[in-house]
């Protein structure tokens, strides 16, 4: 009897100390359970399937894809594209963030929305627009082809352009909130101490945003390597020439070379996992210096 009373009061106390915003226990269990199940079914299972399919016929079969010349060309092209697109967007991103965060000028709000355009426009549409603008039938495309012999559409430059377009927002979006938050104070201090504009940027601005910048570069790189839609439209799928890894995966798969398809896919998935780990580490280590973190306080 005394025991029962004791338990009753203990439960009351537990209730009393409950946080006011906490839901009942059952609700919490359902919510957590649902999330985990969905994550498992829609994210973990497919990821695991990629690796299972890739290794279905053993490691030797898995490695075969890396001697396939088309696959090798695709890997090389993907790396080349990332190598061009990421630095380009690094420069664009810093310049855009600098302009938006440090200056007031007419059209500034419009520019902020414009930066998000690649997120809101379907990549396929973006690809088609480039074909219209730069295809050999268009004024600019025709001029480039005839006077310089440069093919943009259905060639590597087009693929690079598409990738730059699609990945444009990542770095700028990461830097803008942080730079707005930090304001001009540090730069003013540097300049008052005799620094040139370039020195202020190099010694003060850049170190202040370096982790956010790295974070943006990671996201940008992941997307640059994985982009399918816009690239598919602009590449023309010339084997060994304009086919990137994601496109090559699709080609392999359509030709019933499923092991090769999944092996190559596993490389992409591996890259994604590395990015994810690096991103999580950055978030954990430098949460306060990332835009995602600074938005919350």
């Amino acid at each position: 009897m005394a025991d029962a009373v004791f338990h009753a009061t203990r439960n009351d106390r537990a209730l009393a100390f409950r946080s006011p915003v906490t839901e009942p226990r059952n609700f919490r269990l359902v919510a957590i359970g649902l999330t985990l199940v969905l994550l498992a079914v829609f994210l973990l299972l497919p990821l695991a399937a990629v690796f299972v399919e890739a290794f279905r016929f053993g490691i030797a079969k898995y490695l075969e894809v890396f001697s396939n010349p088309d696959a090798l060309a695709a890997i090389k092209l993907t790396l080349l594209i990332a190598l061009i697109a990421v630095p380009c967007n690094l420069v664009f991103g810093i310049a855009a963030a600098w302009a938006i965060a440090k200056y007031r000028f007419p059209g500034r709000a419009f520019l902020i929305s414009l930066i998000d355009l690649p997120f809101s426009v379907s990549p396929v549409v973006a690809g088609l627009v480039y074909i219209l603008l730069l295809g050999s039938n268009s004024a600019v495309g025709g001029w480039l082809l005839e006077d310089f012999g440069i093919r943009v559409i259905f060639a590597v430059p087009g693929v690079v352009l598409a990738t730059i377009f699609v990945t444009f927002p990542f770095i700028a979006r990461e830097l803008i909130p942080l730079m707005q938050d930090q304001g001009n104070g540090d730069e003013e201090a540097a300049i008052s101490l005799g620094a040139s504009g370039w020195q202020a940027f190099w010694y003060v601005t850049l170190p202040n945003v370096k982790w956010a910048l790295l974070y943006g570069v990671l996201l940008c790189n992941a997307r640059a390597m994985g982009e399918f839609g816009a690239v598919a439209v602009l590449s023309g799928k010339l084997r060994g020439e304009t086919v990137t890894m994601p496109l090559q995966v699709e080609l392999f798969y359509n030709e019933y070379m499923s092991v090769a398809a999944f092996s190559l896919a596993s490389v992409l998935a591996g890259l994604a996992l590395v990015t994810l780990v690096a991103k999580s580490w950055l978030e954990w280590r430098f949460a306060d210096q990332l835009a995602t973190g600074s938005r919350t306080h």
């Binding site: 104070g185 201090a189 540097a190 300049i191 008052s192 101490l193 005799g194 040139s196 020195q199 170190p207």
Partner: protein
């Protein structure tokens, strides 16, 4: 380094932040720019620094017109309100920054820079913290690093924007005394901005009182406190009470009675009587005095502030009494200001109301 500010004007868009401001600052002087927020004091400081440029007028450094020179060329030490320390650098690197970024031709050798940085940290009493990062310091310590950093470039002028604004009262008082010592030791011409009159009056050689983009008065602490030249300065510096009065034939009248103050050189007309709540004499009878009904009273340190409702309209003025004074418990109190000042009302406001015939008290 003398500073000359000549007819300086500053507009932001359609807003005029400074209206035709002129000011001369002597070499080695410690000057406070004092005013409420929006008075233009920070704008003026930034114009002197070269962080902003005037839309009209000139800023002289000695005989040289510095109006169009950049902040770097003017060689000023600027201490920011929120310190603006470089968070990714140690305290020592922060202080050495201004020397490290110099072009090779004018940059002192590495060991010399280090020596100077440590010497300055010693001056601001932070030796031993050279290896810390700004986030590991208290507010007061950060402010001192900011000052050491500004001094490192051997500036011609030291400018401080609300240097103690973000600190608590105790630290603020300490740093105030300490800034005075540093100023006296280094001899820099120093200008600081503050909205804290206590700080300005205690610290500065001369105080520049500003309001709405204009300089109201420039003077020593005694001058601006004892002899304010405008109602704004009287009201802004120290406590004050105001009573609407009338001047007639050299006598000051409140409503229907003369209050026993002579104003010989003031032309007749309506005016405002300003006095300090503590600078009064209490009277027993009222033959020429201000008398009122005691209202709310509050205790301020060793004295008591009593609010009096005066005359038919019940104008409220505050006076200060010793806590143990018998008058403090009375319901009607009569007094006369010991020191006071009259400011005539603007002539522009037409006085339509016929003055009541004065009746001798």
């Amino acid at each position: 380094m003398e500073l000359g500010i000549r007819n300086v004007q500053k507009e932001f868009g359609g807003f005029t932040a400074l209206k035709d401001v002129s000011l001369d600052i002597r070499s080695g002087e410690l000057i406070a720019l004092l005013g409420p927020s929006g008075s233009g004091k920070t704008t003026l400081l930034r114009l002197i620094a070269g962080l902003d440029f005037p839309t009209g007028g000139n800023v002289f450094f000695g005989d040289e017109d510095a109006s169009l020179k950049s902040v770097g060329e003017r060689n000023v030490g600027f201490v920011f309100q929120h310190y603006a320390l470089f968070r990714h650098m140690t305290v020592e690197d922060n202080v050495a920054f201004g020397l490290n970024i110099r072009p090779a031709a004018t940059r002192p050798p590495k060991h010399e820079i280090k020596r100077r940085a440590l010497e300055l940290l010693d001056l601001v009493q932070l030796s031993g913290l050279a290896g810390r990062y700004p986030s590991q310091l208290s507010g007061g310590q950060r402010q001192r690093v900011a000052l050491a950093r500004a001094l490192a470039i051997e500036p011609r002028v030291l400018l401080l924007d609300e240097p103690f604004g973000a600190l608590d009262a105790q630290v603020r008082r300490e740093l105030r005394r300490w800034l005075r010592e540093i100023h006296d030791a280094t001899g820099h011409t120093t200008v600081f901005v503050t909205h804290d009159q206590e700080e300005a009056l205690e610290l500065a050689d001369r105080v520049v009182v500003m309001s709405q983009g204009k300089i109201e008065q420039v003077g020593t602490a005694d001058q601006v406190y004892d002899n304010p030249v405008s109602p704004f300065v009287y009201g802004f510096i120290g406590d004050s009470s105001v009573l609407p009065v009338r001047v007639e034939h050299g006598e000051v009248w409140f409503e229907d009675r003369s209050i026993g103050l002579k104003a010989h050189n003031v032309p007749s007309g309506s005016a405002k009587l300003y006095f300090r709540p503590h600078d009064i004499e209490l009277l027993d009878g009222c033959g020429g005095c201000i008398a009122g009904t005691a209202g709310v009273s509050r205790r301020v340190a060793g004295t008591k502030r009593v609010e009096l409702a005066i005359g038919g309209a019940g104008h409220r003025v505050e006076i200060e009494l010793p806590v143990d004074h018998p008058a403090a418990s009375r319901s009607r109190i009569a007094f006369r200001p010991r020191r006071w000042k009259l400011f005539q009302d603007d002539i522009e406001a037409p006085n339509e109301v016929a003055l009541p015939q004065p009746v001798a008290a």
